[in-house]
């Protein structure tokens, strides 16, 4: 993974010093709250229901063991012993104190972590594929480009006061695990006509109040022109994005209002100028960054790995976990492991400080000291030898992280909701917990198979419910929590926005409703169809019927 040099370290340390000064100026009254709020948001510090919440950046979801241990320490020393992994590969601490935040940031900077631009109307964390560099289906590892974008977008003088937040995602694979079509800018690595590497550029995707799937504005952008093209897009957005209404200020609204063709034309017009500047990184700099992402020193392993096969045949629980939580690695004898942070009945994405330390140790012992965070609120150890899987699994089970449910009905994605968030209209976590308990049966989980359930506690959709096969949106109905169900969302390369199935459900009845939806799938599926395959074939009708009676 990328390692900071003196330039990188100097910048984040100067940022810490600047923020310390800004906090002091707030506390002594030189800055009003209106003036200070955008500045503290630039350092990821929100004011939430119970306390300040600090969102720490995990650039494109990659973390070292060393960094994970520091997060554990922050959780212990400055918070209440846990952190929460988010749907944008970041981590949140819910109980921060303003006066301690400069110290937290100072300690994080010691291990090259920061909270720069994890909030506010700026370019946020560029997210990516949690299987980057290790899956078989990759054109190229997207992470060097994520690092190039990270540096370019950090304290960008022209783009630090945008109409609204801005999110970029990069995938290196046609099979999109980074949900690029739901981002303000999505980048998909591809090979050009003569074999050179470039990007398909998509713009204007997003969830929130007005979910939209991104459109392609350029089929092929040579990789050398990446930053100049991004500048062109951001400049058009910065100049022409709406600033009169925060609900209409994202780039997706500008793209819709101008029309895709006109928007693309304005970007191309701007790019004609932007590409003449020195915006792009040099070949040497790209190669310097790429060198941090070369494959680690894998062993040459003879396959099949007998010890692993034996363990699979002897231990049913282990085999189940292998089937659900591991993924084929491009190197023979290795596996990609997803650590489930969704224990049955637990809080999705939460991790206790001791669990963080355990995972740091496991990564160090078994995965070259590298951990990834997924946007589905799980973790990944990307370089596990098959012969180590059994021992790893045992350790994970021992510490409550061995649930064999990745991609299944209890691998629920949920925002913090009304239990924590000042914007929420309903609670999301208790619904996730009850759904998880309802489906907590091995045979049933396996029978249902691959399905995504996403829960958002308000219309801002931080739980990405629009992209869930089953999406649940918490609303306020005359002072009571109520839940709307959407069906058929997808966040992969066949991105789709879930459709509202009908009237909402009370807090008491929503879990039954979700169970009925799953039942409708089971009753209507043909052959080995997954939930989404059945839905795509049948549409809403059988689900409506099950939920609301005869149409």
């Amino acid at each position: 993974m990328y390692v900071y040099d003196t330039y990188d370290k100097t910048l984040i340390n100067q940022r810490v010093a600047e923020f310390r000064g800004q906090v002091a100026r707030r506390v002594n009254g030189e800055l009003t709250e209106d003036q200070f709020k955008p500045l503290r948001l630039l350092n990821g510090l929100y004011l939430q229901l119970h306390a300040y919440m600090l969102r720490v950046c995990i650039p494109y979801g990659v973390l070292s063991s060393h960094q994970m241990r520091k997060l554990a320490h922050v959780a212990r020393r400055y918070d209440k012993g846990y952190g929460h992994f988010t749907t944008r590969q970041n981590i949140q601490f819910n109980w921060s104190k303003l006066e301690e935040t400069p110290d937290i940031l100072y300690e994080l900077a010691e291990v090259d972590l920061h909270a720069i631009q994890t909030s506010g109307n700026v370019i946020r964390n560029t997210t990516s594929d949690h299987f980057a560099g290790v899956s078989n289906d990759e054109v190229e590892d997207p992470r060097p480009y994520c690092e190039i974008i990270r540096q370019w977008s950090t304290l960008h003088p022209e783009f630090s006061f945008l109409p609204r937040k801005f999110k970029i995602a990069v995938t290196g694979s046609e099979h999109d695990r980074a949900a690029v079509k739901f981002h303000d800018i999505g980048l998909r690595l591809k090979k050009g006509a003569n074999g050179n590497i470039g990007f398909e550029v998509l713009v204007g995707g997003g969830q929130g109040r007005t979910p939209v799937v991104a459109i392609t504005i350029r089929n092929f952008l040579p990789k050398q022109q990446l930053l100049s093209y991004l500048e062109a897009i951001l400049r058009v957005y910065n100049r022409h994005g709406r600033r009169d209404n925060i609900y209409k200020a994202r780039i997706k609204i500008l793209v819709r209002d101008l029309g895709g063709c006109e928007f693309a034309k304005q970007v191309e017009d701007e790019w004609r100028h932007a590409r003449k500047t020195n915006a792009n990184v040099s070949f040497e700099e790209e190669e310097r960054i790429r060198a941090f992402f070369v494959p680690p020193p894998y062993h040459a392993i003879e396959t099949p790995v007998v010890s692993f096969q034996k363990a699979c045949s002897e231990d049913v629980s282990f085999r189940n976990w292998v089937l659900t939580n591991t993924y084929d690695h491009k190197i023979p004898g290795y596996a990609i492991v997803t650590i489930s942070l969704k224990p049955h009945g637990g809080i999705p994405g939460d991790m206790a400080d001791d669990q963080m330390d355990i995972v740091a140790d496991l990564a160090q012992a078994y995965s070259f000291g590298e951990i990834r965070v997924t946007h589905k609120q799980n973790l990944v150890l990307a370089h596990i030898r098959q012969e180590d899987l059994f021992v790893l699994w045992q350790k994970l089970v021992e510490h409550g992280m061995g649930t064999a449910n990745v991609g299944l009905a209890t691998d629920i994605i949920a925002c913090p909701g009304l239990d924590y968030c000042g914007l929420a209209t309903a609670r999301s976590i208790p619904i996730a917990q009850r759904i998880s308990e309802r489906f907590n049966d091995r045979d049933r989980l396996n029978d249902i198979g691959k399905i995504s359930i996403n829960i958002s506690g308000c219309i801002n959709a931080c739980g990405h419910h629009h992209a869930g096969n089953i999406g649940i949106l918490g609303v306020d109905k005359r002072g009571n929590e109520a839940y709307q169900i959407t069906l058929g969302g997808r966040s992969d390369e066949h991105a789709a926005i879930g459709q509202i199935v009908g009237p909402g459900f009370s807090e008491e009845r929503v879990v039954d409703a979700v169970e009925n939806v799953v039942e409708a799938y089971i009753e209507n599926r043909e052959g080995k169809e997954t939930f989404i395959e059945t839905f795509d074939r049948t549409g809403l009708d059988p689900f409506k019927e099950k939920l609301y009676g005869t149409l």
Partner: protein
């Protein structure tokens, strides 16, 4: 309002003239872009140098024919969160041929100082509610920059290979 450049505070030699007032003949003056466009020839033949200020809604294409004759262009920040003028500054500085003073004014925070300088502003006005010290501190907060901008500062990606 106090005036600053990248080194610190400055004495302002320019005078703001409203749409109704007569322009002075002995002092550099700043008028609105709309007034300027209506009476450009007249204003440019004035004895003292002409400058204009642009609101976000003003179209820079309309003033582009005059950039080589204008000595100052001021860009408004109606609210410090409204960053449109950062982009307009870069366009004027980097490709319009304007070589005069580019000034930022309006509702600005000291914390924006280095962004203003990097985006191509020569000068910027900050309310006297904020101390000179806070502005100077903000100007010197950072010594490392990642991205190419209007000030053409050597960035980290360039410096890394500079001496190699």
């Amino acid at each position: 309002m106090a005036l600053y450049n990248s080194h610190g505070s400055l004495y302002d030699t320019w005078v703001w003239v409203s749409d109704e007032e007569r322009v002075p003949s002995e002092t550099s003056f700043i008028v609105s872009a709309s007034r300027f466009l209506e009476t450009a020839e007249l204003l440019l033949t004035n004895r003292s140098p002409a400058g204009i200020w642009l609101a976000n809604e003003d179209q820079i294409e309309l003033i582009k024919p005059y950039v080589d004759k204008l000595k100052l262009i001021a860009l408004e920040f109606p609210h410090f969160k409204d960053g449109r003028s950062f982009s307009v500054a870069r366009i004027l500085r980097e490709r319009s041929g304007f070589e005069g003073e580019l000034r930022a004014f309006g509702d600005l925070l000291p914390d924006q100082a280095s962004f203003l300088v990097r985006s191509g502003f020569d000068t910027f006005e900050i309310s006297e509610v904020f101390s000179q010290e806070s502005v100077c501190k903000a100007l010197n907060s950072y010594t490392v920059w990642y991205q190419f901008a209007a000030d053409k500062k050597k960035t980290a990606p360039v410096l890394r290979h500079w001496l190699a």
